[in-house]
């Protein structure tokens, strides 16, 4: 809402500059976005009354005018404007006047006659592009008055952000009331003149019927006749423009002006277009089409509230009028409407039709429940003044449903215990009266408060406490600390787990990334996770098709970030992310927490001159193992070869499913060469992704029992087995563990060899076995015996050959 201070000053006078007004309003909940200081682009221009006009003796298109500029004197002016006429008031630039960037105006002789100044057009004063004629000032412009002042060009306009609860402040009067309350000033509210009794011949008979009192509890109407539709006076147009509205004609402008002033939206119907002299306020009843005055065809819902006549709809109530009853140049009689429409109905219709008009904006937020008659009288007053209208009826005021009286008890003790400070009763009372409430004492320590009808947001004691606190900008309230919570808050296991996971990734040299949860359907299909076929969650109103689903996996985002960096000089990229993923679980979306990483390029360059390590399967698997070990889940993990069909984006021979306690938890591997090509990657890209749900449920701390360090030394024996090339190493280890006695403490693969020394299609796998007893030092002979038995057993079971 724009607030021109010149307009504000009509209702309240405060001894403060614009910045101070802005500060106080901002602190009281009406934030001032900007303070706009407007200045005219001219000086030395005064209002002048045109006394006499005659033709220029030497030029057909020029005229000689005698003008009266009051105390400034009388002048002879040469004027070329076609609209100059005796009796009009116009802006006169005096000799020496500054117009825009032009040099000061000098006396000029035009076709032999001296002009002692210049009558000005809109363009000459920098007010508009209009150069078709001189500006006609209103009759209230006194000769000699400064035109810049008269046109309010020296205004300051505050841009006020109005929160959804303060519909009352979508008006100059509402804001003036706030300013008065904040500065302890008096609000001046002129009472509009009562409707005049129609002259004989002017009377118009009409009939209003409210068929939907649930949506329209009050409807006031007034007929006027004798209207001459034309442009509004400059001052009115200027104010409309300052408030961001376009001036149209003197009737529509008057309704808009009063809406801005009082907050009550008004509508003027062309009387000639109302069939049967009848206004019916009713629901649309069935779906139908209707053309609004912006010339757009709208489809109506049966529930939409309409203003109709005997035959047809005339407008969508409180939202927008119809083209069929619009006031135009030929209009000579009008019917004015000033109604109260229920916010919820207007909100529903406005949202459904996507019409956000100044009227619907105000109705939705709740207007003054009792302001209808005053507003219609005020607009009649203006139309009489600016459009020559005469009253053609009394005000018809139907109110089928009265507003419920609100009485709220405000207990000062309750106020103190909510705010944490005692506010004196007199202060609280003064502030409540200032916002328009009626306040009377109730009990020993409280008030009975009737909120004003323009404050539908005040319904319970907390609302009133807010008002009292608000009007001091919350400055009454001290800042104190609450007593400390005695019981220590429990640690949040999920957060602790995520924090720990993040630190392990950091230790592994990965950088934390953050990506959007929105993704493209193609990416969801592509990176759906090994062996999983989740049903993505679709966004019904996405920002774009590329962001139209919620991610089922973190991989698309990480690969996007990889691409982003490769396009910007990066040679190696190692990123991880911990975040939520989404998939449908039956009919409802479900969330999961995952950890994922992408690794590309050199991972460890090593020192200068020494061989480095690049991203690849074993590098990434090492990170996964480090992570799972760190969180105490290492012993429950296994890696299984991936099925090509399960994860088309992964290399089928260089990827694995990660299982925890036998259940698939994610994958680790290299991107499929085809996928790498699609992404234009020159080097191997390794990735992993794990669902953290089971891991978090298991907990962070290792659960196995902790043992003291061994007291007796271990003895190592190695063996090498020759097996088929595809025989998995973890099966060999598992078999050896099974064959070993209680003395076998640990088995580890330390080398794998393929080449000349073994047959084609075979590999040699070298393992180290560690033997130890808990209660004595083992002898070589004993270990040799046990190891020989183990080797023989394992060799037989695996069908392997022993290699020397």
């Amino acid at each position: 809402m724009k607030l021109p201070l010149s307009w504000l000053n009509e209702f309240v006078t405060v001894d403060a500059d614009a910045d101070e007004i802005a500060r106080r309003l901002s602190c009281a909940g009406l934030v001032i976005e900007t303070v706009g200081r407007l200045a005219p682009q001219f000086s030395g221009v005064v209002a002048a009354s045109v006394l006499h006009v005659e033709k220029h003796p030497n030029a057909d298109r020029l005229r000689l005018c005698d003008v009266d500029a009051g105390a400034r004197g009388k002048f002879k002016i040469v004027c070329g404007a076609p609209n100059v006429a005796a009796g009009m008031r116009a802006p006169l630039a005096l000799i020496g006047a500054k117009l825009g960037k032009e040099p000061p105006l000098a006396a000029a002789t035009i076709r032999g006659i001296q002009s002692e100044g210049m009558l000005c057009s809109g363009r000459e004063l920098g007010l508009s592009d209009d150069h078709s004629g001189i500006i006609a000032l209103g009759a209230d412009a006194k000769p000699g008055d400064d035109v810049a002042e008269y046109l309010h060009l020296n205004d300051t306009v505050l841009d006020v952000e109005i929160t959804a609860n303060r519909g009352d402040c979508l008006s100059i009067v509402g804001l003036a009331r706030e300013v008065a309350a904040l500065f302890d000033a008096k609000l001046r509210m002129p009472k509009p003149e009562h409707a005049r009794k129609p002259k004989p011949g002017d009377a118009i008979q009409f009939d209003v019927k409210i068929e939907a009192p649930d949506l329209c509890p009050r409807y006031a109407a007034l007929a006027m006749t004798g209207i001459t539709v034309g442009p509004s006076p400059v001052w009115m147009r200027r104010r409309l423009e300052l408030c961001g509205m376009q001036a149209l004609n003197n009737v529509v402008d008057a309704t808009n002006y009063v809406m801005l002033e009082t907050g009550q939206p008004l509508h003027a119907f062309d009387w000639a277009k109302i069939a049967g002299g009848k206004i019916v306020v009713r629901r649309a009843g069935k779906s139908r089409e209707f053309v609004t005055l912006d010339n757009v065809k709208r489809t109506l819902d049966s529930e939409d509230l309409m203003i109709a006549d005997q035959e047809k709809e005339l407008g969508i109530a409180g939202v927008m009028g119809g083209l069929n009853s619009e006031v135009g140049e030929s209009t000579s009689a009008i019917l004015l409407e000033s109604a109260y429409f229920e916010p919820i109905g207007i909100a529903r219709t406005a949202r459904r039709t996507q019409i956000r008009s100044e009227a619907s904006y105000r109705f939705e937020r709740g207007i003054d429940r009792e302001g209808q008659v005053n507003a219609i009288l005020r607009v009649a007053e203006l139309i009489r003044e600016t459009a020559g209208g005469r009253d053609a009826s009394a005000v018809s005021d139907l109110e089928p449903r009265k507003a419920q009286a609100r009485k709220i008890v405000l207990d000062l003790g309750a106020m103190e215990s909510l705010l944490g400070v005692s506010i004196p009763a007199a202060t609280a009372k003064r502030r409540l009266i200032a916002i328009g409430a009626q306040v009377s004492a109730a009990g020993k320590n409280g008030f009975s408060v009737s909120p004003p009808p323009f404050r539908p947001d005040l319904n319970e004691s907390a609302d009133l406490i807010e008002e009292v606190a608000r009007l001091s900008g919350l400055e009454d309230i001290p800042a104190t600390l609450p007593p400390r919570v005695a019981a220590l808050a429990p640690r949040h296991p999920e957060r602790e787990f995520i924090r720990g996971s993040r630190e392990v990734m950091l230790g592994c040299g990965l950088t934390e990334a953050a990506t959007l949860a929105f993704t493209a359907p193609a990416d969801n299909a592509r990176y759906c996770g090994a062996g999983q076929k989740p049903k993505p969650v679709r966004v019904n109103n996405p920002l774009s098709a590329e962001l139209s689903e919620l991610r089922v996996s973190l991989m698309a985002g990480l690969i996007g970030s990889l691409r982003f960096n490769l396009n910007r000089e990066a040679a190696s990229v190692h990123l991880f992310e911990i975040g939520k993923t989404f998939a449908m679980d039956g009919d409802l979306p479900a969330e999961a927490i995952r950890i994922a990483a992408v690794s590309y390029g050199t991972y460890a360059l090593s020192a200068i001159g020494e061989p480095g390590v690049k991203a690849g399967f074993f590098q990434m698997k090492g990170i996964v193992e480090t992570y799972l070990d760190a969180i105490g889940a290492g012993g429950r993990t296994a890696f299984k070869p991936i099925e090509a069909a399960d994860a088309p984006f992964l290399h089928p021979g260089r990827s694995a499913i990660v299982t925890i306690d036998g259940e698939a938890a994610g994958y680790v591997g290299e991107l499929h060469p085809g996928e790498a090509m699609r992404l234009d990657l020159a080097e191997t890209c390794a990735v992993f992704e794990l669902d953290l749900k089971n891991l978090i449920a298991y907990g962070f701390a290792p659960r196995k029992t902790i043992e003291a360090p061994p007291k007796f030394p271990a003895i190592r024996r190695d063996l090498a087995l020759v097996l088929d090339r595809n025989f998995p190493a973890d099966m060999v280890v598992k078999t050896i563990r099974e064959c070993g006695t209680g003395l076998l403490e640990h088995v580890d693969v330390f080398d794998v060899y393929e080449g000349k020394a073994v047959a084609g299609g075979k590999k040699s796998i070298a393992l180290a076995c560690r033997y130890r007893s808990k209660d004595r030092t083992l002898t070589d002979e004993e270990v040799n015996r046990v190891h020989a038995a183990l080797v023989e057993e394992a060799r037989t079971r695996l069908g392997a050959e022993l290699r020397d």
């Binding site: 959804a164 429990p490 990965l510 990334a513 000089e569 939520k580 991972y603």
Partner: protein
């Protein structure tokens, strides 16, 4: 002994050792010939030979030690490195700046006795709006443009759903902060992200225990702990459907220190937080009787203060993961200051 002078090298020393002390060395030979010496003279000669042997051995040992030391020193010179060359370059990880800032904020609240709760991103209308006193069709819903998803659900527009989720499950006293992602239909641009981070916090206790003065105290303390002890804090009245009275909380502009600059729109103040006393309708929605309990709630976005703190003017840096940006941060949780 002349051959075992100070300048003798390793080969000379070894030659002498073999010649004198070796298996067929001079002294060994003498000892071997002892039986031919008369018994009476044997002790004297034996002592003499042993004395000579000890002297020669000591001399050789001393020389060898010197020689080893010299060799060691020579080798040190040969194995010199250019210590200015880079060290072993393993990949170095960083923690995302938003995580670091979020963790620091949460740590402050934890120090003040708040616990952390994590709640869901995909919500129903009740927990995101209705329970927070946004009735259907209420214009306040326009303040937040919502993403709707399958299953009749929406993406939470604020972390305030955490307030409802926690209060539904538990009874006061409660002091909780709920960090998380929120979603609003804002274009991805320099000024806005469609997904961003918020912290919601609330403190509820029996009626009269937790007041608006405490809200001011806790938030002032938080802002000073986060932005520095000299931070100036201002509370302004405002409107949120789920709090009453409501407040917006400003700090003195970090850039111009309150003088007025483009960042603070010349006001000298930066809006950081929204807060207020929990609205009676919210308490009712979670089954609390407003006469029994009261408390405060607050919420704020993390990205905006993060930009101010880092002096960066483009929101997109937080989701682009440009390593040239991320690698500037310390690799410590909560390290950004």
């Amino acid at each position: 002994m002349a051959e075992l002078a100070d300048g003798a090298d390793a080969a000379q020393v070894e030659t002498v050792r073999v010649r004198v002390l070796g298996r067929s060395g001079e002294l060994t030979e003498i000892m071997r010939g002892m039986r031919e010496v008369p018994a009476a003279e044997r002790p004297a000669i034996g002592n003499l030979v042993n004395q000579i042997k000890r002297e020669v051995e000591a001399r050789i040992e001393a020389l060898s030690a010197n020689l080893k030391q010299a060799a060691l020193e020579r080798s040190l010179g040969e194995k010199n490195l250019d210590v200015t060359l880079p060290g072993m370059r393993i990949a170095r990880g960083r923690i995302h700046p938003i995580t670091q800032i979020l963790e620091r904020m949460l740590a402050i609240f934890e120090d003040m006795g708040f616990e952390v709760a994590i709640t869901q991103d995909v919500e129903d209308d009740f927990h995101n709006f209705e329970a927070l006193n946004f009735p259907p069709h209420h214009p306040a819903r326009d303040m937040q443009d919502t993403f709707f998803v399958d299953g009749g659900r929406l993406l939470r527009t604020h972390t305030s759903n955490g307030q409802i989720r926690v209060m539904e499950q538990r009874r006061p006293p409660l002091a909780v902060v709920c960090p998380g992602k929120c979603y609003r239909r804002d274009e991805l641009s320099v000024r806005s992200l469609p997904m961003f981070t918020q912290i919601e916090g609330f403190m509820v206790d029996r009626h009269g225990r937790i007041t608006m003065a405490h809200l001011k105290g806790v938030l002032s303390e938080f802002l000073r702990a986060f932005f520095g002890p000299d931070t100036k804090v201002r509370f302004r009245s405002s409107f949120f459907p789920f709090t009453e009275p409501s407040a917006e909380v400003d700090i003195h502009c970090l850039l111009c220190k309150g003088v007025g600059c483009p960042v603070c729109k010349k006001s000298g103040w930066l809006e950081i937080l929204g807060a207020g006393m929990i609205h009676p309708n919210v308490l009712r929605a979670v089954g609390y009787e407003p006469g029994d309990y009261q408390g405060f709630a607050f919420g704020f976005g993390v990205e905006r203060p993060a930009l101010l703190l880092l002096g960066v003017d483009d929101m997109r840096v937080f989701i682009e993961n440009d390593l040239r940006f991320l690698s500037q941060f310390p690799a410590l949780s909560g390290g950004v200051r």
